[in-house]
């Protein structure tokens, strides 16, 4: 007989209010210098890390959740800033970009059987993209419905879009578009929407200190007629350096959502406006109405990264306060911080690859609940 008689203790729902997270596992990354990017593959079974030690490592997750490094190799002659996976439809393909002014494309080669037994795989370079004259700051694959297309942006202010016309031959890439943004670029994000209602669109962020050009975020849209990308919008209200930018996955909405990491976290809504022009086919990009949805300065200073989860229900940001913050909107579209990850500077006691002890989990829960209970009146 189940005991339903115990009245919920005072304050129990205060505890439930907080999203309690814990460190389930710590993996020793073994890079010899700072890690600059970590990227999950599409299915969340593999991850790639890149570092100032000029190498990229690929990790595979086994069935019991443990991570094993299956490849580690030198990729560039400078710090590697970003690493990203292509869609699995194109196979196992990675792209990396570096301070050494290049971006590179890598493909996994199915190895010898003894390699497989040892849990190793090989990645070979398919191409090096050397068009940039300065550090390549970001590299992203375009949405898969556009084919196998790679985009880079550089400190020289140019966005370059490459295409591999034959997906079975990754050594052939052609530079399809070269877009000069006039400002040094730090980040790009493709609009993931594959709806026919929206032509291909990407956003570029700039961390240029130049004040002549006001807006540090530019939106470009592809035009079917001219077969070129044209600027659709500049976010003039974003005047400080932009370090990261991210379109949210589109879930049947008619508008776009864009998150920006600048001196604060900002979320914009971009609403395509219907064209009233007399021309049957518009010659310019879609007019976008820009609305700010939320702005958070909790990080106290620069925000360096923003990223959406898969369903765009949560946004994460990382800032100068050494924290990662999670943001969520309720059904009234009010945004709130629902969780914080903070480095506590304590040394890691358990060895890599092992789950943190249960007592630590309980410990941190208790710690959190203690915080939540502070201010509660005693007894009833």
């Amino acid at each position: 007989m189940c005991r339903t008689d115990r009245v919920p203790t005072a304050g129990i729902l205060w505890l439930a209010l907080v999203v309690i997270m814990f460190v389930a596992r710590s993996i020793a990354a073994d890079h010899k210098d700072l890690i600059h990017d970590v990227s999950y593959d599409f299915h969340g079974r593999r991850m790639a890390t890149c570092s100032s030690d000029q190498s990229v490592k690929v990790w595979d997750r086994s069935e019991n959740g443990e991570w094993h490094c299956t490849a580690s190799w030198k990729t560039h002659s400078g710090s590697v800033w970003r690493v990203t996976w292509a869609h699995p439809e194109f196979g196992q393909v990675l792209a990396s970009c570096s301070f050494d002014r290049t971006a590179a494309v890598w493909e996994e080669i199915v190895g010898e059987s003894n390699d497989k037994q040892r849990g190793l795989s090989h990645w070979i370079k398919r191409t090096t993209l050397v068009d940039s004259r300065t550090s390549v700051t970001d590299v992203k694959f375009a949405p898969k419905h556009m084919g196998l297309m790679l985009t880079t942006c550089s400190a020289d202010g140019v966005v370059r879009i490459y295409e591999a016309p034959d997906v079975m031959n990754l050594s052939q890439w052609s530079l399809q578009h070269e877009i000069s943004c006039k400002l040094s670029c730090s980040c790009i994000s493709w609009n993931p929407s594959s709806s026919r209602a929206h032509p291909p669109m990407f956003a570029v962020g700039s961390d240029d200190s130049n004040v002549t050009y006001g807006g540090k975020v530019q939106i470009y849209e592809y035009n079917e007629n001219t077969r070129k990308y044209a600027k659709a919008e500049t976010l003039m209200t974003v005047t400080d350096a932009v370090h990261d930018i991210a379109f949210a996955p589109n879930l049947g909405r008619s508008f776009h959502v864009l998150a920006i990491a600048t001196k604060d976290v900002r979320i914009f809504k971009l609403v395509p406006m219907r064209s009233d022009r007399k021309e049957s086919t518009s010659t310019g990009p879609t007019k976008l109405e820009v609305q700010i949805v939320a702005q958070f300065d909790n990080h106290n200073s620069q925000v360096w990264r923003v990223s959406w989860n898969i369903t765009s229900t949560l946004l994460a940001s990382s800032g100068d306060d050494g924290c990662v913050r999670l943001w969520k909107a309720n059904y009234m579209d009010n945004w709130k911080c629902t969780g914080i990850l903070k480095g506590d500077g304590s040394p890691l006691t358990s060895s890599s690859g092992q789950p943190t002890a249960m007592s630590t989990i309980v410990g941190s829960s208790v710690q959190t609940s203690q915080n939540a209970l502070n201010g509660m009146s005693a007894g009833r």
């Binding site: 189940c2 339903t4 115990r6 919920p8 304050g11 129990i12 729902l13 505890l15 209010l17 907080v18 999203v19 309690i20 997270m21 814990f22 460190v23 389930a24 710590s26 993996i27 990354a29 890079h31 010899k32 700072l34 890690i35 600059h36 970590v38 999950y40 599409f42 299915h43 969340g44 079974r45 890390t49 100032s52 699995p88 196979g91 996994e108 700051t137 898969k144 996955p249 360096w304 990223s307 989860n309 898969i310 990382s318 800032g319 050494g322 990662v324 999670l326 309720n330 969780g339 914080i340 990850l341 480095g343 506590d344 040394p347 989990i361 309980v362 829960s365 959190t368 915080n371 939540a372």
Partner: protein, 602 residues
């Protein structure tokens, strides 16, 4: 009412020191955090090596093995609820809805029982949360779904309080099992608790034991026994109207009051207290806060003894005043209090809103809101996002399920029942289900095919085809590309097959190629491959004239890849020497031969 606002919890990431930044990456069901240093352009920083990457998860993952049963069984109830026909008469529907509500609650209780058996400190929290959930759900069932009118309303509320205040029975057991129950130090607490809960039969039985110990006070105990036995309780199934009951109750109330005025129980402090309780004296009730333990118990008790014919619309007034009277002036209402108060005020919207904020697991609000929506209770409140609220919550809940390695299949049904966004959510998330095995891939495919999600079907098949191709499993790659209806890929794989043949002189995956049927028409190259293999088969079986005819058609149809022309011509040579080949075929082959030879030589 103000929205509950709480500081978010901080999760500490070890080994990430001061002055460093924290990088992150979203994963399915987790977020990776690592120490890094972001830099403005032109800056350079050297970091230490050997940093750690930390996998951060929500605490729900600890509970989920046990909650799995809750998720599974409630999924079953949910699906059943969606199929209740719209055209049923509302009376029948109401009975069904109440029954469904009770099913949900019994699933919650079963889950609590299981959790209670696992002695882990971390689960105490989860049990308490489930307790709160069941308490709230039960009240919502009484007020909203069953929607009892004045009369039965109080009886249902009494049941509700009794169900959630069972420690009385425990104490009573202890007292009764002692040597002399009437002298047990908890004896009077038990009696008073029974009275407070309106359990007069049990109270009377207990009092008998005291009465036998005090023969001198026999008359007093007899009087109390009479009062207790005569208290009217409304009988919903009976013929008495509410007004008649009210009259009867007032008479009884006056009688109790007369006993007080007459000092009938003055010499027995305990009986005097009970008499004051029966007459509904607020101060006396409040003196027993410890036994009541909650303001809502106080509320129901007060109604029982002051206003048993309370109407649903009057509840909020009593609830508010009881809460104020019961709680310390200093204390802040807790989330649970706000939720219950909102329920007594029949503010369904507020209940859902506060529950969404208070309980970060979406299970409860999603299922309750869905049920209330079916009862048409959300719409009647004219919320502009009435049904969107239901969808929002169901989508949140189901999205959480999707990251689970086996529960994701339950999520599909929830998405199916969200008419506006369910489909697009499903499309987005089902693509991410890892295709670890062919069996799993087929499972995912079946779900997509059933819902005409053709793009997802194509994509999954393409991923599998690519994977097979990379591992040189041409047969598997070919099957998958056919299923993906990917002509280009099928062509590519067919070419590989043909290259293989050229290199080794034999075909692989003969079973597959021989049994493709109409699927071979997907691409010219594939058709050629199948037909070419057929040609070889005919040749091996010495059916030379058929073989010749086939070869001829292959040449004339011009579906052979250029690289293969020499091979075809070479194949034709031995046929020309065969006697069985008909004369016309011979000629045709010669012509074909000649024609193509010219072609090749150009």
């Amino acid at each position: 009412m103000e929205e509950l606002d709480v500081e978010p919890a901080i999760t500490n990431i070890p080994a990430a020191s001061d002055g460093k930044h924290l990088g992150f990456a979203w994963g399915p069901g987790d977020i990776l955090a690592y120490e890094t240093l972001y830099m403005a352009p032109g800056m350079c920083a050297k970091g230490s090596g050997c940093s750690f990457i930390h996998e951060v998860r929500k605490d729900e993952d600890i509970y989920s093995p046990i909650l799995r049963k809750l998720f599974n069984e409630s999924h079953h109830i949910f699906v059943g609820l969606q199929t209740i026909r719209e055209d049923l008469p509302s009376k029948n529907k109401k009975t069904q809805f109440v029954s469904i509500s009770k099913n949900y609650r019994s699933v919650i209780r079963a889950c609590m029982e299981e959790l209670q058996q696992v002695a882990a400190s971390v689960l105490v929290l989860q049990v308490s949360i489930l307790l709160a959930i069941e308490l709230i759900w039960n009240l919502c069932e009484v007020l909203f779904i069953d929607a009892a009118p004045a009369g039965p309303l109080l009886l249902h509320l009494l049941d509700w309080v009794r169900l959630h205040k069972g420690d009385v029975d425990e104490k009573a057991r202890e007292v009764l099992q002692s040597e002399s129950p009437a002298e047990h130090h908890d004896y009077w607490d038990v009696v008073v608790s029974y009275v407070l809960q309106g359990r007069f039969e049990e109270a009377r039985q207990m009092l008998v034991k005291q009465a036998t110990l005090q023969p001198a006070a026999r008359n007093m105990y007899k009087l109390m026994d009479t009062l207790l036995s005569k208290m009217p309780f409304y009988n919903p199934g009976g013929t008495q109207t509410l007004t008649e009951f009210d009259v009867k109750w007032r008479h009884w109330h006056e009688e109790v009051d007369r006993c007080l005025q007459d000092n009938s129980f003055a010499s027995n402090q305990h009986l005097e207290i009970i008499c004051k309780i029966l007459v509904g004296d607020e101060d006396t009730l409040l003196e027993h806060k410890e036994l009541l333990s909650t303001w809502y118990h106080f509320l129901v008790t007060r109604l029982l003894f002051c206003h048993p014919t309370v109407k649903p619309t009057e509840l909020h007034y009593y609830a508010q005043s009881c809460m104020t009277m019961f709680l310390d002036l200093r204390s802040v209402p807790e989330p649970l209090d706000s939720i219950l108060l909102a329920a007594f005020e029949f503010d369904i919207h507020q209940v859902i809103k506060d529950c969404s904020i208070a309980l970060n697991n979406w299970w409860f609000v999603a299922h309750l809101t869905d049920l209330l929506d079916h009862c048409k209770l959300l719409q009647s409140h004219n919320l502009h996002f009435g049904s969107n609220l239901r969808e929002f919550l169901l989508l949140e809940y189901a999205s959480g399920l999707f990251t689970h390695h086996s529960l994701w299949q339950l999520a599909v049904d929830y998405f199916d029942n969200c008419p506006e966004f369910g489909h697009v959510y499903l499309e987005l998330q089902i693509e991410r289900v890892p295709l670890d095995t062919e069996r799993k891939a087929l499972k995912v495919l079946r779900i997509c095919e059933q819902r005409q999600m053709s793009e997802q079907v194509r994509s999954i098949c393409k991923i599998m085809a690519m994977r097979a191709l990379r591992n040189n499993r041409l047969g598997s790659a070919l099957s998958w590309s056919i299923r993906a209806k990917d002509a280009a890929f099928a062509t590519l794989i067919s070419e590989r097959f043909l290259q293989d043949y050229c290199a080794r002189g034999t075909f692989s995956d003969l079973d597959l190629i021989d049994n493709l049927g109409p699927a071979m028409l997907l691409s010219d190259r594939l058709t050629f491959l199948v037909k070419y293999r057929e040609f070889h088969k005919l040749y091996e079986e010495n059916r030379f004239s058929e073989a010749a005819k086939l070869l001829l058609s292959l040449i004339t149809a011009k579906i052979a890849p250029r690289s293969f022309w020499m091979t075809l011509l070479t194949d034709a040579l031995p046929l020309l020497e065969q006697k069985e080949v008909s004369h016309s075929a011979h000629c045709a082959l010669h012509c074909g031969f000649g024609h193509d030879l010219c072609f090749i030589l150009q």
